[in-house]
Symmetry: C2
Subunit: 597 residues, 2 copies
Amino acid sequence: MTMQDARTREIGWHKSYLTGSRPDLRVPVRQVHLTSGQDVTLYDTSGPYTDPSLETDVRRGLAPVREDWITGRGDTEEYPGRPVRPEDDGLKSASPGAGLRNLDAVFPGRPRLPRRGLPGQPVTQLAYARRGEITAEMEYVALREDVPPEVVRDEIAAGRAVLPANVNHPEIEPMIIGKRFLVKVNANIGNSAVTSSIEEEVDKMTWATRWGADTVMDLSTGRNIHTTREWVLRNSPVPIGTVPLYQALEKVDGRAEQLSWEVYKDTVIEQAEQGVDYMTVHAGVLLRYVPLTARRKTGIVSRGGSIMAAWCLAHHRENFLYENFEELCDILAAYDVTYSLGDGLRPGSVADANDEAQFAELRTLGELNTIAKRHHVQTMIEGPGHVPMHKIKENIDLQQEICEEAPFYTLGPLTTDIAPGYDHITSGIGAAMIAWWGTAMLCYVTPKEHLGLPDRDDVKTGVITYKIAAHAADLAKGHPGAQAWDDALSDARFEFRWEDQFNLALDPDTARSFHDETLPAEPAKTAHFCSMCGPKFCSMKISHDIRRTHGGADGGTGGDADGEAAGVTEPDIAAGMAQKSREFAAAGNRVYLPLAD
Amino acid sequence: MTMQDARTREIGWHKSYLTGSRPDLRVPVRQVHLTSGQDVTLYDTSGPYTDPSLETDVRRGLAPVREDWITGRGDTEEYPGRPVRPEDDGLKSASPGAGLRNLDAVFPGRPRLPRRGLPGQPVTQLAYARRGEITAEMEYVALREDVPPEVVRDEIAAGRAVLPANVNHPEIEPMIIGKRFLVKVNANIGNSAVTSSIEEEVDKMTWATRWGADTVMDLSTGRNIHTTREWVLRNSPVPIGTVPLYQALEKVDGRAEQLSWEVYKDTVIEQAEQGVDYMTVHAGVLLRYVPLTARRKTGIVSRGGSIMAAWCLAHHRENFLYENFEELCDILAAYDVTYSLGDGLRPGSVADANDEAQFAELRTLGELNTIAKRHHVQTMIEGPGHVPMHKIKENIDLQQEICEEAPFYTLGPLTTDIAPGYDHITSGIGAAMIAWWGTAMLCYVTPKEHLGLPDRDDVKTGVITYKIAAHAADLAKGHPGAQAWDDALSDARFEFRWEDQFNLALDPDTARSFHDETLPAEPAKTAHFCSMCGPKFCSMKISHDIRRTHGGADGGTGGDADGEAAGVTEPDIAAGMAQKSREFAAAGNRVYLPLAD
């Protein structure tokens, strides 16, 4: 199990906390101890599971660290809440066997009444920020991102960033999504009608955050959907997103035309009371856009988009989410659920990228973004999908313009369709580029995309690939602190500090095991050469020899040689050259120093 | 063994040939047969090994398909050649055990005298192109790239493309490297002092080309270096590159200061006679540039660069490759060995990217490029390395300007240093971008980079990752034919033709096995839903239903609905809407048609 794994892994690093203005404001960091004596502080998404001083129990859930902040604001109330029904788990009351199974699975943790804003009170971080308040959550993310809290507040107030934090999800460690901050990564989990179990999904969530997922979307469908979500929420240190339409569809037995605003609204309230932090809402799929997809190579590929399109056509009425959008805003504002306005008409192949259907919907999302903001609802905008490299920049530029710089949240995009089995890579390329250009959060893609359901290994590979894309973008954007991580690893590499390289790596386990395959002996980890080249061909070793005799960062015999040699422009053998040659011989004599050196 | 693998894999595709103006000009292609009845023709690098009608024997080597073209030109002569010495394999004559081992390993294939240009005759494709000739090799690549042969000739004549084809490597299937053509991928193989064997290296070569490597560099060091190269060359359908400095260093027992022009020249001739098609030459590492690296974060990371830097400092003389560059040009011109001007001072960390040392060397490479061209030697320029995304474009732009658009051949670049174990991905991102902007060939990076020696799986992962990068760039550049491959796969995906998706995939084996993990049953491969979503949530299925009732590519009840629905701008329920709703119900009634549909 994940918790156990995490606790036995603490070689070379430990969990530490930055403390804010109040004792219960403790921001976790991963403190890496280098053999050089320095410490490197890294952002940490892994939650209490990697803190050996904390007891965690998946059957009880995580401690509600935000509870005092929420109640302290005095603008929410507890209330009985909507009763949980068998249909919430996709069960018929006439199906006793299934009902029993559900009863067994029910989350055993402490009951807590749901909470919502006092009547007419938007309790969103956006509302607070607009009033000039710096909440505990904002201070938390400011410490986490190493920026002044005023910057956090102002970015949220301007709608350029969101801080997804449902008042019913007090367990989260707050995080922020916006282009001014570190690029974030979302991992999707979720059982499906075909396979998977509740325990697997909770494990995938903790596993994904262990490797760096900043948020997790529970895309479960089928049975036990309510109960699975409860387990995930109560154990999640990161914000949880959902697509309420999936559960709504289950409630009408998978018949899209039977969907209604009432069923949808009921589902949104159900999920908001549980604590879902952001919801994908496909309100931009308008009836008149659907025919624009008819001649596409791959039609509509968003599940939510295709469901709403089918509903629109079945009734020949406008999308009920679009028609009831203002009411939906008021519901979300009462819990501080963040909108993730879904791109139901995103392209499903590079051939369909940037077409009329896609951009028509984007313009509608811009309109909805304005409405949501009027209701003080935090909002981000979802983006593609499948886009060849030369068409990526247009996506982010247009989105930023149309949606007043609301955070863009993209799925990849995949830059080619020819590599099923490797779509984490086809999309990691596009993800890095679009994030560099301003996308705030990247939804990961696993190697199983288009082929099957991701297992544990796939989840890890997807998260690591997307952390690479996100960090490459942070570097390219010049995010303060991003370069320091690379520098620490490069220094360790140049100085043959293998253990430091492993501990600084995004995936220490893989780095260490790859090294051990070629040179398994323990002394090899302190050897002054890499296994690729062997001792004679090691360029870094030669570089050290050069420094030793010709100055440079690690000292040596003469820093003076630097400027002098730089002044040499003629290749002739001068007297000074002969002297330098003798100095080189005298200082090290051999180009390759002994390994113990 | 690879050959066996390849021959049992021919489900859904077969090897085919395009024929040129002469019967011995046969360009291999991979012909994929779709269940829809169409055929898709793909570029094929796998050589005779995937042609079941051909007998191959690694101990005899491949058929010399180019031999008649070379001799037919009448500008070369056979000659006795340089005698092979024990030192060529890193053996001392005083070491009988090692000598025996070498004797056992010696390549048993038919002896062939080396060949070179008649005195004073450059026999390079560049010289021919400048004279206006279209050689058989040029016609071959024109067919392969689906462009007029004149384009091939003109690009080579302008120095914007190279066609690496040593007169002593008649076994190759010619290919071209230039920004006007498909982006190419090189795979590195090579034993090292630490591990590996001859058989392993030959197997890695055929394995790499099986997955799409366009050229292979043999970077062997240590023992049996000459013999390993002979086996690789005689069995390689793709151009082989080397770094002659590695072998030269072995000849002086690894002591860089003992290197000399004479030892290097001897090695170049030895390798040219064997048939090496292109050579990395570190002639741009000038004495005065070495101190520029002293304060870098990671010094000099190119093996060849660090060796030449050490030599320069040991003697305090100018790089002997730079000083003897014109003589080297004449040697290469006599065999048509292509220069790959090495970037010995490339950055080894994102911190060192685009610095003074790197660009100083690039300017010298520009100077050498001009000299090489004067001697009719085909030339490409090597590039970094480690470069954050925002500094990548400057590299290709500067190189193209300084080197008169000579093909750029880059290693990655890695866009971040924090992910050892995943550097195929950190660099695949940079590779795709720099190729889009004009890089002609990408040197692959495997997951083991910086950690250990790649095994068979790593070679495959590296090649596939780089084929993705190359193809994503082809798409973004609008290369004719690139989009057709994606379209064929997207069509297959939308139409649930699973077998076609697998057969069109860059890696059919992995795509098929990932699919089978979730839905192993044979009927699942024709099922009209994906395993990710299950039948109820399949967006593509819903899209088909929409098309069926609302027109579009796959027919249905009414193409007329298209324009009509597009005209709907008011969300009210009109009489026409009710009518459309009834039509939808009448046509399919259920949104989800039976699976057998």
